[in-house]
């Protein structure tokens, strides 16, 4: 997030697009509701009528995969009505003209046709966002998990720049990050193209810096991304896989592909706290520790580094994950793995990561710190881009965009669009499926389908159906609801009994390499 969760409570307008906030980020959703209670406008853009719609001033129920068209349409209205922030565009941004030209393709007739949202709603949303400021946009996987996910994010960024809604409190481009520490895992360099602190592996300076810090020779070739790793296992170019705390058998798009790939690995190690469906495929399983059994830090979606503290001893022989990696490193003659506790690791981290430089365990005792935190007396940064952006010129860059179709389209054989969503009662599966009460509250997978589609297929509530995509088949119970758009069905992916990701599409966004999980053509048959 460019901004802070609690700032949402003071926004005058919130645009929630591609996020089912009350289900996936319930505590951030409380801030959205607080804002509405205080009089803020809420614009919800989602193919599904989610719970937040109860609080919405405008609900834009656009077709899956048409986010760019919707947002560009809003921006065209803003410009046509002269509602843009001219000073901000002039002083803080560049490449406005090419972007403006790209808006020509997004006249409201076209946008209405592509998105299925009426023009008056788009106009209303655009006016509110541009005039009732500060406006903040929150988004989630509904934006990113598309083959044009990067374009979707750039559209949100364009909208913020156009209206000057960035670099100020209660504004911003705010991805609600999924996992508890997905932000931190990125920050510390668990990505194929960057060292810790987003320093490029291709940069000779960065390479030299880390070679000297770690006393090792490093590769300057960017590595394979998550989905590509599975491709490489399949084609034999990657032979060994070390996989920690993840369950691709359920969570990977087009899961059959991932399963086949892992089965092909010469040697696979899984480190986890439970014997997951993925661990079953491993040659060796190493027992890691759960969050309550270890010290460390998590970095939340608002870049806040917070202290995780050990409450109980690890079960049995389970060990902290960092300890296990250190032991392996030492056996393979790695240098610099003599850490005896997590605080020593943080000390090394902050010595190589400028944004974390001011973050130490002793400071974290008083509460979390939001990076960038540049020195021991730096207070941390609640919102970014106050004076300049992180680009070479320091200017915010407008990006011209075109509407692209989703990777997968419906046809006669696969006439319905499947989109994945989440349940409040589960987080993926490994942990929450092992809490009895959560399985009473969220007990099984359901396929949400519009009454018109259900009638056409002659299926009833609670009936079991077979869902088939071009990649896989699952059987699931039906829940008929007018919260779905006709032609669009949805399922979560928390249940190993109903592995939804056997169906989904793993075609990637060309830049972010994120699979287009949110749009998948399916057919439904009665059993």
């Amino acid at each position: 997030m460019t901004n802070t969760i609690t700032e949402l409570g003071d926004a005058s307008t919130i645009l929630a697009i591609g996020t089912n906030t009350t289900e996936a980020h319930p505590i951030a959703a409380l801030q959205v509701k607080d804002a509405v209670r205080k009089g803020a406008n809420l614009i919800v853009a989602n193919p599904k009528e989610i719970d937040l719609c109860r609080f919405a001033t405008v609900f834009l129920q656009h077709k899956p995969g048409t986010d760019v068209a919707l947002l560009m349409g809003m921006m065209r209205v803003i410009l046509e009505e002269g509602l843009e922030d001219k000073t901000f565009i002039k002083d803080r941004c560049e490449d406005f003209e090419t972007f403006e030209k790209s808006l020509e393709a997004f006249d409201l007739d076209t946008v209405e046709k592509l998105t299925g949202v009426s023009q008056d709603k788009i106009i209303k949303a655009a006016r509110i966002y541009a005039t009732q400021t500060p406006s903040s946009t929150i988004y989630c996987m509904g934006i990113t998990q598309h083959v044009h996910g990067t374009d979707n994010v750039l559209a949100i960024s364009n909208l913020a720049l156009l209206t000057g809604n960035i670099g100020k409190p209660s504004t911003g481009v705010n991805p609600l990050r999924g996992q508890n520490n997905v932000q931190g895992a990125c920050d510390v360099g668990c990505l194929p193209n960057v060292y810790p602190g987003y320093q490029q592996v291709t940069s000779p300076d960065a390479k030299t810096k880390f070679e000297s810090a770690w006393d090792a020779e490093l590769s300057d070739k960017p590595g394979q991304t998550h989905t590509e790793i599975f491709d490489a296992l399949l084609d034999g170019s990657i032979k060994s896989l070390y996989l920690v705390g993840e369950n691709p058998v359920l969570s990977e798009a087009n899961a059959n592909h991932a399963i086949e790939a892992m089965e092909k690995a010469d040697f696979m190690v899984v480190q986890d706290i439970f014997l997951t469906e993925t661990a079953e495929l491993a040659d060796v399983i190493l027992p890691g520790t759960a969050f309550a059994e270890k010290d460390g830090t998590f970095t939340n979606t608002e870049r806040r580094v917070q202290r995780v503290r050990k409450a109980v001893d690890p079960v049995g022989e389970a060990k902290p994950d960092w300890w296990i990696a250190c032991e392996l490193a030492k056996r393979l003659k790695g240098k610099g793995f003599d850490f005896t506790n997590s605080s020593e690791i943080m000390e090394e981290m902050r010595s190589v990561m400028p944004a974390y430089k001011g973050i130490s365990y002793s400071r974290l005792e008083k509460g979390g710190l939001q990076w960038p935190c540049l020195s021991d007396d730096h207070p941390g940064t609640p919102f970014l881009h106050v004076e300049k952006f992180g680009t070479a010129s320091g200017k915010g860059i407008f990006k011209p965009l075109v509407y692209k179709k989703s990777g997968e389209e419906t046809d006669q054989e696969y006439p319905l669009l499947l989109t994945t969503d989440r349940s409040l009662f589960h987080y993926h599966s490994t942990m929450t499926r092992r809490v009895y009460g959560l399985n009473v509250l969220g007990k099984e997978e359901l396929l949400n389908i519009h009454p018109e589609d259900a009638a056409q297929l002659e299926i009833a509530d609670d009936q079991k159906v077979r869902v088939t995509s071009r990649r896989g088949v699952v059987d699931v119970k039906v829940s008929i609801t007018d919260k779905c758009l006709p032609g669009t069905v949805s399922m979560s992916f928390h249940f190993s009994e109903t592995p939804t990701n056997l169906l989904t599409c793993c075609e990637l966004d060309p830049v972010a390499k994120t699979p287009g999980t949110k749009v998948c053509a399916v057919k439904i048959e009665t059993l």
């Binding site: 999924g178 590769s219 399983i285 939340n300 409450a311 079960v315 990696a325 009460g437």
Partner: protein, 348 residues
């Protein structure tokens, strides 16, 4: 600077902020005024009528202190004979149909009603006369995480307002009238069949033993940490007893969550104690996993990893693990295995 108001409570001079209620001003000064339905995070409703006080002088009247703003020169008395009498009657009416089996109540010694009874004082005689024969209403134990016992409910409405003002769910409300009034979901259906999201915020605020966590145990000590589910990063205070997690509550001091938790945050920690946890390294031998010592497992892994150094190796790390875990993992992959084939689920 907030404008200051000078008043007296029971003859003590009190400096309050403009806009404060008499109850808040008294609390700040450490003067106890009994109250049940007041909660600092919620709008006051003045339902319990226990916080009655008397104002002297030109504004002379009896008011409820939770809804009356302080004024300059106000003289407040909290314990006049008249106030004490009214408060006593209010309290007795509440206790008359309250389940007084306190030893079997989870809130025993933490209960606001007990504290008020202790302060106001109960007359044995009057209590005997007022106490109705025990006719216990059924407990709503439909929710897997908590129970609602109407016999211990004092109708303060804190749960109703929490569900409305904080959660905006409105799963529960007052139903029926007069003696039959109770708190229930729509159509008086069990809570499991209501739109309750089981966040447990009402349990935390219940001043008596009406809403209690199932199998609740008091911890021997508590540890502040961060929830391990979504990216909100809510502050969690875990309760520990005999090296097991027995409770969780929101950390009021946490900057991101301000003490709030959702159903997963509050109850989801229970997976840590699950009997299926992996407790030993396992090596697949003849298609079956066999428990081995750490040294054997680590040697075997290191030997095999040594065969495929460089780009023949890939590491996938975990967004569930700590920054420190992830930092060491990427350092291992890059500096020891010599490859940038490294990712985690950020793209998923």
């Amino acid at each position: 600077m907030t404008e200051k108001i000078e008043l007296t409570i029971n003859g003590l001079s009190v400096l309050a902020d403009k806009g404060m209620t008499i109850l808040d001003a008294a609390n700040r000064k450490g003067i106890y005024i009994p109250h049940l339905c007041h909660h600092k995070e919620l709008e006051p409703i003045g339902a319990c009528r226990l916080c009655l006080v008397e104002i002297q002088g030109e504004w002379k009247k009896t008011v409820i202190s939770c809804k009356t703003e302080v004024k300059d020169g106000m003289e407040v008395l909290t314990e006049t004979p008249e106030i004490q009498m009214m408060r006593q009657v209010n309290l007795e009416l509440m206790i008359a149909d309250h389940d007084t089996d306190c030893l079997n109540c989870y809130q025993n010694t933490k209960c606001a009603l007990q504290r008020i009874a202790d302060h106001v004082g109960m007359s044995k005689e009057r209590f005997k006369r007022l106490k109705k024969p025990e006719e216990l209403l059924p407990i709503d134990d439909s929710n897997p995480f908590f129970d609602f016992d109407p016999n211990r409910c004092v109708l303060c409405g804190i749960c109703v307002r929490t569900c409305d003002e904080i959660q905006n769910i409105n799963a529960i409300d007052f139903v029926q009238r007069g003696q039959g009034t109770k708190i229930a979901g729509f159509g008086d259906r069990p809570r499991l069949n209501s739109n309750c999201e089981s966040c447990g915020e009402c349990i935390v605020r219940c001043p008596v033993g009406a809403l209690t966590e199932k199998d609740a145990k008091r911890p021997t000590h508590q540890v502040k940490t961060i929830c391990s589910f979504c990216g909100c990063g809510c502050g969690l205070v875990l309760g520990v007893r005999d090296n097991k997690l027995v409770s969780a509550r929101g950390d009021l001091g946490n900057q991101a969550s301000k003490g709030r938790l959702c159903v997963k945050g509050r109850f989801g920690y229970k997976f840590v104690n699950h009997p299926e946890r992996l407790t030993s390294p396992l090596v697949k031998k003849d298609g079956k996993f066999v428990e081995v010592e750490w040294d054997e497992a680590l040697d075997l892994v290191a030997d095999n990893f040594a065969k495929n150094k460089g780009d023949k190796f890939a590491g996938i790390s975990s967004a569930k693990a700590t920054n420190e875990d992830n930092y060491v993992f990427q350092k291992f992959t890059r500096a020891v295995m010599g490859t940038n084939n490294l990712d985690h689920c950020a793209r998923l």
